[in-house]
Homo-oligomer: 628 residues x 2
């Protein structure tokens, strides 16, 4: 019997049958997976076969928060959405923040599972234990910001919190996001899954409270956490004042801020245009997620041309990269505008920017011609074209919109002509903003993360912020990165994605105490007795289960790799000049990684490992595939 | 002692001294002016000299609601803002709807008077009897939609209702509006007054209730009103389903839908592009003001080009005209986009559209050249340019933005070259969407309304919907229009602008019972005993007091006139072909109007009339000017 942290209930909504049911959250699942991504992957694995069509009726949307969400734990208003990704075909797990996560807890649910498919557009309205499926035909076609306003008005519930898709999700763009408030379940095309179910939005209003199992212990754990945060070298005032865009200067100094689809990384410097000073000039204050003392979301007001002026948005570092360096664009105002436009249309800023950068390289190489672009001058740096393409993509418009709207991998397959080697993705998920040629643990994480090239599933802060924990690493070295990547992936998973806490804590504030902190916070709030070692084990469990799902989905060792550029073209200039990841280095890192994971050299988890983790169902799956 | 309807309190905020005070609402003022525009004009007259600089410290913003707002009276969530208009120099009274009006009542106030000027940007936060002036530097530059979201977040009050200015108000555009929710205090540049005071926003949250003096009588009056509304030939389902844009077809059939700055009215038909069918194709449901059973605000979703697609807005008939016919634009999607853009930037759609249409005529006539427009092809029908100019205007940008941002009159004065005769305004306020050459009572109302060319101050529904009340009128005739205009102005003022009820009721549902309805509704809610005759008298009182303010501001009979086109160029085609208002007809109408108003032939209210209306202060003012 769960004593605190958890609401103890799973809400299940079937859009085909319109059946709405609740079930109990088993204590064992809470103890083995904590929450968030752990819950999501557990239920995905148990209920969705690996080989289903991500946009078909059998796929599910599993929203799960953690035991800390909705308590006074700082930075815990997070929620994980797990589904099979239409962009990658692998596990599609995306987290969002803001207020929606705690609202679901307040309404009484740890997990919301949406299954089936509605024939007509609908939205879900959850007011505590009153749950209804409502018509949304009138909302179809409406952007995510307006949708939230209209639903609040319709429900006469200004305090409702709403997650919804925009036109991109409706049009099944495989880069579609889900937006709640101004936050996003950004990547892996999760918005298209919602669109495929004809589910426009989920509105929640909760009036409950999250119980605390052990108030005194929780108070102590919380105060330990807050003081650890205060001691951080990066969190205050730097990160609090600048947000993630401060990283532009960090990675530029390392020579790994990617530019022009990774052709010119390190050679061209973007600090003057996209650095801290340019950001601060446009700063308009910060937005906080529920219960967050940091407030890293820095609102910026675009200026300059009439096209961009007055756009207000909070592009993250990754968006500075995807709509900035990656596309060769130096116009920060256009990036702010593009960020807001993506949020409104419900698109992942990262995948969209990288896909546009990819198209720009093809254009400069003559693989895409003026005829293909309908006369558009698709060269690097053309911010007007970049911005225009966002709408084309969201609406899957004939021409470049339809060509690019499912991401760089799908586009390269349509274009052919050897374009695939310029598509910067792993497993279909576009590259993040750390050129792995100068940060090889980042690289190995991209190659092996269960979601594709996803910096957030095992962020190697050791290579970026120099934190010597668990020990210092040479960012250019391949050796040792197998062990480190496993550690980063497991700890990140268990200390942030599952509990659910903000990832920035781990990267910037608490790396050395993250396991202890998570164990204490989760144990005190829930009454479950978790040790720091349990935490590491939970991370490992989730990563192994996700890996097994992906194997069932058809992925093999061959998919744990990089685009050719990373394997063959050294960085041409700057502090990481000359570095790349050779095929031998990739092999060495993968071998080490599989080895420390106790997986076969084909990347298959062993029976021994899965037994140790209590993943009998994963063994059954691999047995069924003849892989174990 | 006021018994109901009124909260009995005036909130006064001085932005210079930061002093916040409350005072009692005198019963006599309630009885003599009812509320809304009546209160506004009474306090403006008493506290603001006619000759002050509208953008100076001495001008005031007087927000006043009526006794019915916040009760269960239908269609009464309205609020009047009265100030000296920077666009006209006359009384600038503008009404808005939505939820802001009732929130002010719930907070406990009938009137909010903002005076003085803050040195730094601030916003006002009114939570019941807790009132504070808060810093708004961070909000400066931010559009009206984002401002509302940010303030709600900052206050952690999702139920707050906010009226605010956008960049246009900050930049003191004399066409700047004030936006609450998606509603507008639209015309007369009231947003610039707020901008001149460095007041970004007023946020209100109220938890009180509006008392009802006589529940039983109110119930009966309300039920009479609702059944009168139901009997209306126009209100349901037509108006409820189509909103004001249905009028495009009505005025087109009469040949008075204005096109191309009134050059081609009647000749060119816009029904195919802007008519009911085109509207319904884009319809996305309706928004209701508080307590309104009609819901005339029809949300429409733009489609077509990437530039406009996904814009969601509710352009009124007047916006169809100003950004449609007036500019020769037939692209409805661009009109929806322009409407939303104006709301976000805080601009009056009517004045902006008409001013752009004016500039287009000058361009087509060669008075503005390609050199003046910086190469922009400013011809009629160019919707892309029309949309781009909106932002230029809001930011007072060098070139066309700075030239046009204070409206057509100011622009014509800067341009010279005889351009003034093409500027379609009265007293600086741009023309509404009824070509007065085919609707002469509309014309006389434009010429004499205390706010300039304002259809809402004395809407001659007799000429548009054919309602034979108080009797049938020939729309082309000049004779009798003096009497009719006085009646329309007084009754409109007293039955809608003061109580405060929605103007559409009067035009479409209740013209024959408006006086009785207002008397019964206001009397029952407030305990004041008003007869239908009292209602007419109140309208007359308010119009006379406003007229006296305008005389003190320097206006004379010579200002009660039309642009030359109306006086000399007949309508060239369609059902109103050949008609215009000759100078003789204008003289005849004015003479009749002054006569029935018991004003001198110079348009000065007589001592006799003012005494009859109890306006001794107006007599004193006119005595001071040597005019009485």
């Amino acid at each position: 019997m769960l004593k605190g942290g958890y609401m103890g209930k799973i809400l299940r909504v079937n859009l085909t049958t319109k059946k709405i049911t609740t079930e109990e959250l088993p204590e064992k699942i809470a103890k083995d997976y904590i929450g968030g991504a752990g819950f999501g992957i557990k239920y995905l694995f148990d209920e969705v076969p690996g080989d289903v069509d991500p946009l078909g009726e059998e796929n599910k949307l599993i929203f799960a928060s953690g035991p800390l969400s909705g308590t006074s734990a700082p930075c815990a208003s997070r929620i994980a959405l797990t589904t099979k990704s239409p962009l990658t075909g692998a596990v599609g797990m995306a987290l969002s923040g803001g207020y929606f996560p705690v609202e679901m807890k307040f309404a009484g649910y740890d997990i919301l599972i949406v299954e089936g498919e509605s024939e007509e557009p609908v939205y879900l309205w959850i007011k505590d234990d009153k749950v209804s499926i409502r018509p949304a035909k009138k909302l179809w076609g409406i952007n995510t910001f307006d949708t939230q306003v209209l639903i609040k008005d319709e429900l006469n519930e200004q305090n409702a919190r709403i997650a919804c898709i925009g036109p991109a999700g409706e049009n099944l763009s495989k880069m579609a996001s889900i937006i709640n408030e101004k936050r996003a379940f950004g990547r892996k095309g999760v918005g298209a899954v919602m669109g495929s179910k004809n589910l426009k939005a989920i509105a929640i209003r909760g009036t409950g409270k999250v119980p605390i199992a052990n108030e005194q212990a929780f108070k102590e754990a919380r105060s330990f956490m807050l003081s650890a945060m205060k001691k951080s070298a990066h969190l205050y005032p730097q990160f609090s004042k600048l947000g993630t865009p401060m990283v532009v200067e960090v990675t530029s100094a390392l020579g790994i801020f990617p530019s022009e689809n990774y052709i010119t990384t390190g050679e061209k410097n973007y600090v003057g245009d996209l650095g801290v000073e340019a950001s601060l000039e446009r700063a308009k204050g910060s937005e906080h997620c529920y219960g967050c003392p940091v407030g890293c979301s820095q609102m910026k007001l675009a200026r300059g041309s009439s096209k961009y002026i007055s756009a207000l948005s909070d592009p993250e570092y990754e968006t500075y990269y995807s709509f900035g360096g990656e596309t060769g664009v130096r116009n920060l105002d256009s990036i702010i505008f593009a960020d807001q436009l993506c949020d409104k249309l419900g698109l992942d800023t990262m995948s969209v920017g990288v896909t546009i950068g990819f198209a720009m390289e093809l254009f400069e190489k003559g693989i895409l011609t003026l005829e293909d672009t309908d006369g558009i001058d698709l060269k690097f740096g053309n911010h007007e074209v970049m911005v225009d393409l966002i709408t084309e993509i969201a609406y899957r418009r004939e021409g470049l919109g339809a060509l690019l709207c499912d991401g760089s991998k799908a586009a390269s397959e349509k274009i052919g002509k050897g374009s695939g080697k310029y598509a910067m993705h792993v497993k279909g998920l576009e590259f993040p903003a750390y050129d792995p040629r100068g940060a090889k643990a980042h690289g190995l994480n991209y190659a092996t993360s269960y979601t594709g090239a996803d910096h957030n599933r095992g962020y190697a802060f050791q290579e970026i912020f120099g934190a010597p924990f668990p020990k210092a690493y040479d960012r250019f070295a391949a050796q040792g990165k197998g062990w480190l990547t496993k550690w980063n992936q497991d700890i990140r998973c268990a200390t942030t994605d599952c509990p659910t806490m903000c990832g920035f804590l781990m990267d910037m504030a608490l790396p050395d105490v993250a396991q202890k902190n998570t164990a204490d916070m989760v144990s005190s709030v829930s009454g479950l007795s978790l040790t720091p070692d349990d935490i590491a084990k939970i991370g490992e469990r989730v990563n192994n289960l996700a890996r097994t799902f992906n194997i069932a989905a058809g992925f093999t060792r061959a998919d744990d790799t990089f685009p050719e550029r990373i394997l063959t073209e050294p960085i041409k200039g700057g502090p990481s000049k000359g570095h790349y990841i050779s095929r031998d280095e990739l092999k060495e890192m993968l071998d080490e990684y599989y080895n420390v994971r106790n997986w076969t050299m084909d990347g298959i988890p062993t029976r021994e490992k899965l037994t140790e983790l209590g993943l009998e169902n994963a063994i059954t799956t691999l047995e069924g595939l003849g892989l174990i």
